[in-house]
Amino acid sequence: MAETALLKVRKLAKYFDVSKPWLARVLENQPAQILKAVDDVSFEINKGETFSLVGESGCGKSTVAKLVVGLHEPSGGEILFDGTNLVEAINRKDSNLVRRRWQMIFQDPFASLNPRWRVRDIVSEPIRVFKLARSSAEIRERVGELLTQVGLSPVDGDKFPHEFSGGQRQRISIARALSSEPEFLVCDEPTSALDVSVQAQILNLMKDLQRRLGLTYMFISHNLAVVYHVSDKIGVMYLGRLCEIATANQLFKAPKHPYTRLLINTIPDMDMTRVERAPIQGEVPNPIDPPSGCTFHPRCSLANERCRREMPLLRNDGSSLIACHAVEEGRHT
């Protein structure tokens, strides 16, 4: 039985023009500089699933998140939300019908809530924008329900954000995100700024809500252990492109792409096995001027001439997708 894909992303691209101001460029005779933040990214998320994007800085995972919720316009490719073209849908007059089906939770609990608004206004904003309730009494009641659902109390609605801790603010963000009863939640590093014990509370809450409300999550993170805990499927990104897409089990038990292996190698040895691991070479290069061919080749022990010339494409390899010449040529074991 085919699973229903809630989100389908095909060859998504986002380019930024980061050239110097026109006059300076002309005077110094320099070419325009284009940053390919996201390039040729394709994946699918099924209903009820948690799909995570991992990668280091400059890999483009946050940009993909912003593209998927309509904060950026794609430079290329398409995004299909439940079969409809996302960019067209949000530019139509009745875009509200589509927009209320997804929401976003952000990383910084201190910047994601308007400091001048009361909590109940913050949480009820989607309700008012999408006209989901009629009277202010109804709205008040709904806000109280939502706050209780995320582990706060209805009286917290009268307070201001600065009266709450980081973990509580993330709960408020979650309450706000749930107020429009969305199906799809994009979470951009929601626990990265929180203490470990608070992180556990928020992750548990999110899993519980997913089960009860049937939510689909797209989770962005750089923390591999967190991603292991929450995800069904994982996509690994490097310099704007996808390297590998696999289920969580496969990715961690049998990673195939050399970059994925490098990342797995960096996971701390919490079981204290003290097993020796190969040292990691190099750093993430400047995204404005990436290496030729496969952008990972300078750091890859399996790189050959083809890797230096030709960009690998995502190919099926068993049940996962890998973009690597070495894997394709069977050189990776």
């Binding site: 280091e56 014990s197 556990a200 960096t266 701390p268 919490m270 204290m272 040292p279 750093e283």
Partner: protein, 325 residues
């Protein structure tokens, strides 16, 4: 003799409404060449402990009681000038943000040679040669050429290497590193951790590694002290504390960290939050959140005591004296 001994350290912050007790009766020691991890969540007081040792406690914060001994000599009550000379020569420091740790207006070469010349009486050329050698040792490629660059011309990981070079250039006996890898990508974190470990072994330098990241501790430290609300609640060898935690807070902490390979549906949760400095409960600071709290925990504050395993914990559950009598 221990390299560093901290005895009953007490750090206060007097303000208009009273005095905030930020560090309450903290004692520990660091042996030469060992890596002691100090772990805790935000507000636990670990950075303040590091700052007190380096002598960079920001006023109005002050050491109200206790003493800090470096190689047997007391350093917490030294005048500014004397402490300044010890800082750098005997104690090096690495902070979290490599971008603000380096002066953006001076080249790396100038900052390194200046620091070297402060602590050693050698010629300018000698100092530069030493600086280049240091950069090579911390793994910066083409050091001879890159030494004349400015900090912003380096990437984040490279900058942190420069900061480490600065910290070790006078051959200190102890390095206090406050969240040295938090602002870096995971692959760079791994490299920096390896670098620190190697340097410490090569130079027999002790490290006080302050972090909230248990993973970094697991990879790097020999011993670890767990801090909560300004107190140390558990201290012991890293393997013992991580795999066989004794204090309920440490147990809760270890339980709530997701670990690859451990499949749990629900992460263990510690209900509540760490108390604010002005709201620390009577008795054991952890009692409102502790699943094993007894009557005594609400009355008396426990000191670090033997627990039957190699690590010590500040928990009345291990008090065999009164339990039996």
């Amino acid at each position: 003799m221990s390299l560093l001994e901290v005895k009953n350290l007490r750090v206060e912050f007097p303000n208009r409404r009273g005095t905030l007790l930020a560090i309450d009766d903290v004692s520990f020691s660091i042996e030469p060449g060992e890596v002691l991890g100090v772990v805790g969540e935000s507000g636990a007081g670990k950075s303040l402990t590091g700052a007190s040792i380096i002598g960079l406690l920001e006023p109005p914060g002050r050491v109200a009681a206790g003493a800090i001994f470096l190689e047997g000599e007391r350093i917490d009550d030294l005048p500014y000038e004397k402490m300044r000379r010890i800082r750098g020569k005997k104690i090096g420091a690495i902070f979290q943000d490599p971008l603000t740790s380096l002066n953006p207006l001076y080249t790396v070469s100038k900052q390194l040679t200046e620091t070297i010349l402060v602590h050693e009486n050698i010629s300018q050329e000698h100092a530069r040669a030493r600086a280049v050698a240091l950069l090579e040792e911390v793994g910066i490629p083409a050091a001879e050429r890159r030494i004349d660059s400015y900090p912003h011309e380096f990437s984040g990981g490279m900058r942190q290497r420069v900061v480490i070079a600065l910290a070790i250039c006078a051959n200190p006996k102890l390095i206090v590193a406050d969240e040295p890898t938090t602002a870096l990508d995971v692959s760079i974190q791994a490299q920096i951790i390896l670098l620190l470990k190697r340097l410490c072994k090569d130079h027999n330098t002790a490290v006080m590694l302050i972090t909230h990241d248990m993973g970094v501790i697991a990879e790097t430290a020999d011993r670890v002290a767990v801090m909560y609300a300004g107190r140390i609640v558990e201290i012991g060898a890293v393997r013992d504390v991580i795999k066989n935690a004794r204090h309920p807070y440490t147990k809760g902490l270890m339980g709530c960290i997701p670990i690859v390979g451990h499949d749990v549906e629900v992460l263990q949760q510690i209900d509540g939050v760490m108390p604010r400095l002005n709201e620390i409960p009577k008795g054991c600071a952890f009692n409102p959140r502790c699943p094993d709290a007894m009557d005594r925990c609400f009355r008396d504050r426990p000191d670090l005591m033997a627990t039957g395993s190699p690590s010590t914990a500040a928990c009345w559950r291990y008090d065999t004296v009164t339990a039996n009598g």
